[in-house]
């Protein structure tokens, strides 16, 4: 079946399988930042933003994004010009293996889009659905708080 949706700002109109997982579609379209860690919605590595809200792309099928806006980390920043949130992750030491990082960035992005002054507990709650086995979350929380501070200081583009 054909669906139309917006992926990282670009319109898409293409054939998908009716049961094709959204994560498979996005990876097929080259969005390799979307990771598969569990396939049951428990790890959060496949998180994407759907109309600005964080969702698990392994729990959705492709036709569900018909007419909607999908954002992945590829749209956030680049290697040479990272988004402030990505810079904060680097500066805080929040990246170890980096496999959970795209999902973490997106849930953090969603949090900061509605609350640019989160408490550490609010950050923990926001990222609680995304598992990280490397960091103990300490520096991920630091990174989100740092990015929030930069946002309040008007240092986000």
């Amino acid at each position: 079946m054909k669906i139309a949706f917006e992926l990282n700002g670009a319109p898409q109109y293409l054939d998908v399988g009716p049961g094709e997982p959204l994560v498979a579609l996005l990876r097929r379209l080259g969005m390799k930042s979307v990771k598969e860690g569990c396939d049951t919605g428990d790890c959060g590595a496949c998180t994407v933003l759907l109309d600005g809200r964080a969702v698990r792309s392994c729990l959705m099928v492709a036709p569900q994004v018909q007419g909607r806006r999908v954002t992945t980390v590829e749209a956030l920043g680049t290697v040479d010009d990272p988004h402030p949130l990505q810079r904060a992750f680097l500066q805080a030491g929040a990246v170890q293996c980096g496999f959970c990082t795209p999902g973490m960035l997106l849930v953090a992005h969603e949090l900061l889009s509605r609350n640019d002054h989160p408490s550490p507990d609010e950050v923990r709650e926001a990222i609680a659905g995304n598992l990280c086995r490397c960091t103990g979350y300490v520096k991920i929380v630091d990174a989100v708080l740092l990015a929030a501070q930069w946002k309040r200081e008007g240092r986000w583009r």
Partner: protein
Amino acid sequence: MAVETRRRSAVGQNVTKVDGPSLVAGKPVFTLDLDLPGLLVGKILPSPHAHAEILRIDTSEAEAVPGVRAVLHFGNVPRVPYTTAGQGWPEPSPYDTVLFDRKVRFVGDRVAAVAAETEEAAEEALKKIRVEYRVLPAVLTPEDALAPGAPVLHDEPDSEGIYDARRNIAAAVDIPVGDVERALAQSPVTAEATCEIPYSQHCAIEPHCVLAYFDEAGRLVLRSSTQVPFHVRRIVARVVGLDPARIRVVKPRIGGGFGSKQEILLEPVAALLALRTGRPVRMAYTREEVFVASRTRHPMRVAVRLGAGEDGVLQAIDMEVLSNTGAYGTHSLTVLSNVGSKTLPLYNKARHLRFHGKAVYTNLPVAGAYRGYGATQGYFALEVAMDKLAEKLGLDPIELRRRNHIRSGETSPIFEKIGEGREGTAQVVRSCALEECLRVGAERIGWKEKRLHRREEGPWAYGVGMACAMQGSGITGVDMAAATLVMQDDGSFRLLVGATDLGTGSDTILAQIAAEELGVPVDRVLVYSSDTDFTPFDTGAYASSTTYVSGNAVLRAAGDVRRQILAVAAEALGEGPEGLELAEGAVVSRRTGKRLALAEVGHRATYVANQRQIAATASFACPESPPPFAAFFCEVAVDRETGLVRVERFVVAADCGTAIHPKGAEGQLEGAVLQGIGHALYEEMLFAKSGRCVNPNFFDYKVPSALDAPRIEAILVPSSEPTGPWGAKSISEVGINGPLPAISNAIYHAVGVRMTRAPFTPERVAAALREKGR
């Protein structure tokens, strides 16, 4: 090396992780992020039985499924006994595994494999493989496996290196020092603890995966999420019967390992499927397969008996281990050995020691390497026993450790007696800041105050507990790493290392080690790692080896390149190299103050005069294994009504020598501590009577989330290891050894019950509280 005379420019700096920018940008840097045309999907048929003989296997219907390209099983694959453990040579694990056997030994064991055009076709083919089993009686506990008349798991005639196959004993050790029984009998004060750790899994967020494909020359390339690319090449070549020279193993970025990827699991199957079909093949475990069919921590029961004088000085330690290695003996001997070798030297005042134990086969998933590698299990029992001993002596637990722990300049007979599956190497501890770790950790958590005044609020009772631990830095007499450092014509550098960054940041710290010696910023050193075609040998990322072993190789190569640079500059500047030094990207003459930029050095050597490539390859074989040390402190709250335990705060103070990248080192501690908290409070693989794992997913097996994680405060206490690169030793494992005993000891302080079986679930704590109340 002017280690102390100049300010360090790269070492000790929190530089940007060299792979960080591409990781945060979500670039396609992981194994499965590569798109290959014509890629087939490989899948494995798991055994539904814990123990069975395969009488007949019929793959005709499966092969008829449209899109199916190959089916492998015992009937069409060479039988080569090997071990899946990715260890150095000679391999210390028994050769008790073949790719596909006539017998299956746990629910999830490999029966057959399929390659097909699509995932769906592969799945359908698996369903159509007809297997006729003769179900055999299974053993699900080590005790049952050791019972007379128990079913024998490994009755095949061609296995090698099993300690006693007929009794299901994969490995056994018995190492006495002095006369422990007499010393225990004569000790005025004794204490003992028996602690148990269940099946738990590493839960790296990236499941095991591999791409097998052919390059332009028809050579087989394995792009694998592995900790041991060079061992993969060696072992796959032998198992599939291919000249190693025809295999290239590439490790891209990998999504965590923690030991579970120190195993050769999917690679030989993918290699064979690619060879049979002539097509590229992708294989990836599902999360359920990661739990059941990759590797786990060795479940263990460790019994420790301590004997001490009235002064609290230990006289004797007896440590006895019963380890469950599951269906195969990968890492069975070496993990068992490490239970003693990484724990007993910590308390070297004890003159009489005995370390003995067995690793036993059962019809359950296969245990293997997991961060801590036996030390985690050993410290649980040792440090709970120490807590009991402190209580009997009326001593503060910290004071008891102070009276017994090893110090700089001291040794332990254990270093020489127990190695990795053979004798070890005598060594003296040259750096130890454990005393300082104990001091700053105790101060940070408020030990004295909290120990004296226990708090209670409603159902909650609060307590504090502590523990100590050490680990090693590489495996003496086994580990070897090499590095090649090349200066480019523009004066920048390429660093080629076999070392395997599994997310730890080792690429970054190796660049820092080189940059420091070369007097350049880290971004002038391009790191390329873990490719058996392009990088020199390295045993791989395990045994806390990379910073120390690979780091020393890098430092040697950088020292050699530095001398070559100075020689070129000496020619250019018309003076001897003695008066020249490297700083801030240039060679500087101390006599004349003249500067020659490294770009000019590179240009001159490449194009201008006395042309040659400035480059060096150096290697480092691990002559000793300097231990990092750590002191752990935690505060817990115990709900006396429900038995729920909350870790309120966790402080870890660790001595890793010089921290090359302090934030990276803290991150290793924080992550290791949270895994340890997971072991203590949540994590346990559970099995039905059939031997089937009933919780192989993140919903039923609880990995701590950000909401479960307490405040973890990591403190780096510096020391300088004279044999380490820029004074460094390891950090990646030691942090996982403390949480189990520290939390158990804190629970005891809070509510007076000793939790000796992990995890300390509300049910178990509540049961212990009821028992105590009776």
